[in-house]
Amino acid sequence: MSSFQHQQSAHCESGVLASLLTHAGLPMSEPMAFGLASGLAFAYLPIVKIGGMPLIAYRMPPRHLIKTLSKRLGARMHSRTFGDQEQGRRALDELLDAGRLAGLQSSVFWLPYFPPEMRFHFNAHNLLAYGREGNEYLISDPVFETPMRCAAEDLHKARFAKGALAAKGLMYWFDEVPQEQDWSRLVRQSVLSTTRILDGMPLPWIGIRGIQHLARRIAGLDPAQAKYNRLYLTHIVRMQEEIGTGGAGFRFMYASFLQEAGELLGEDSLQEASRSLTDIGDDWRQFASACVRASRSKGEQPDFVGIAASLDAIAGRERVLMRELGAWSRRRG
């Protein structure tokens, strides 16, 4: 337990995953964990509403990273949820007292160490508990610079907050992580799976077709609804940048993975793909800035068609990249 090193991450789930694996003896960076778990995605879900706005996700749903990667690595992971809250509290204490690390799912809103302006009702936040002292838990929250402390009552409330994606006290830990891994096979398998998610789903809201769908929605905004347009465009920016995406809706993190994997395997084509995804990420950032500019502008008519066109261009570039990566991962499998 004393050997545990807190490491700041961009995203909660990949950060917790990288920390757990590293601590279990398989050193892994956050981008590597994110990439090998095929975390990159895009989804526009008009049915799931957040504050009256559609859910726009740039990654796979919560829990996907942990489940996928532990399966691919052949790691034995335990996870438990609790019907009885008192039992959940005891189980956590027992695990910590045995000197283990515990991954926990919790609500952001009830964690007192979060900045007030960032506290929203998001129940699928991941963090690590690595010990307890008196009435406080020692917390390694991956999106913060340093370890945190959290009063037992607050953590308990955060773990058992009700609502969408309720954690029900979910707690997970690794038992055994095989140290010998076939990295070439892992990278190929995970890249192929990402290309299928982004460019191979027959649904109009998922992957690149989802990006194109969002572009059409922006192009079709009614200029008379200025207030709604402002909230809609900035909602996209928040989904893309606000809650721990490592910049540009996980595009930079995935580019970092491609680079690291390219170095590991000595594959120039992955390095090349990393460079082009970095450019695409820069386009996403500019798209976000354009959305904010359009929301800020008073008086003059915002150029929705222009913004939509830039998003369509991003979709086109991601499609080209995914086809190249797909061809690469099939070449020698």
Binding site: Q8, G51, M118, V237, A248, A288, R296
Partner: protein, 135 residues
């Protein structure tokens, strides 16, 4: 994004914390870089918060003038809306909307109020005391 382009706009929304982004150095090599905030992102966050604030204030005025129960303003104050409050409390949305009416709210039993108390993290006694106010 180059390391030099990582925004350092000291956004109040970060509460003095830094966030990790991934950016490339001069040689094109990726590394983690701390960002103290980005104006475009902070603008978006604040706009969403201001909208919730506006709704809460509006509902509070409704409560003061006796048109609404305090429930609606509490809902927005605790960053919830009707679907979210329904999920947290396990009550139907139409029931929650009904509880926005002062006369209905005054007749609510402790069991229902307790659900709201848990959702807002408030003592039950406070929600009960609102039943006696302005009656």
């Amino acid at each position: 994004m180059k390391l030099d382009d990582v925004p350092q706009d000291s956004s109040s929304t970060y509460g003095g914390h830094c966030k990790l982004l991934y950016a490339v150095d001069e040689q094109g090599h990726y590394q983690g870089a701390q960002s103290a905030g980005w104006d475009d992102e902070a603008y978006s966050t604040r706009l969403a918060l201001a909208e919730l604030d506006r709704l809460a204030t509006e509902a509070e005025e409704g409560w003061r003038s006796g048109e609404l129960s305090p429930l609606k303003s509490l809902m927005y104050r605790y960053r919830l809306d009707e679907p979210a409050l329904a999920q947290v409390t396990g009550l139907w949305q139409w029931r929650i909307r009904r509880h926005f009416r002062p006369a209905i709210y005054r007749r609510l039993g402790a069991a229902v109020l307790a659900r709201y108390a848990v959702a807002f993290g408030l003592p039950l006694a406070q929600l009960i005391s609102y039943q006696k106010d302005r009656s």
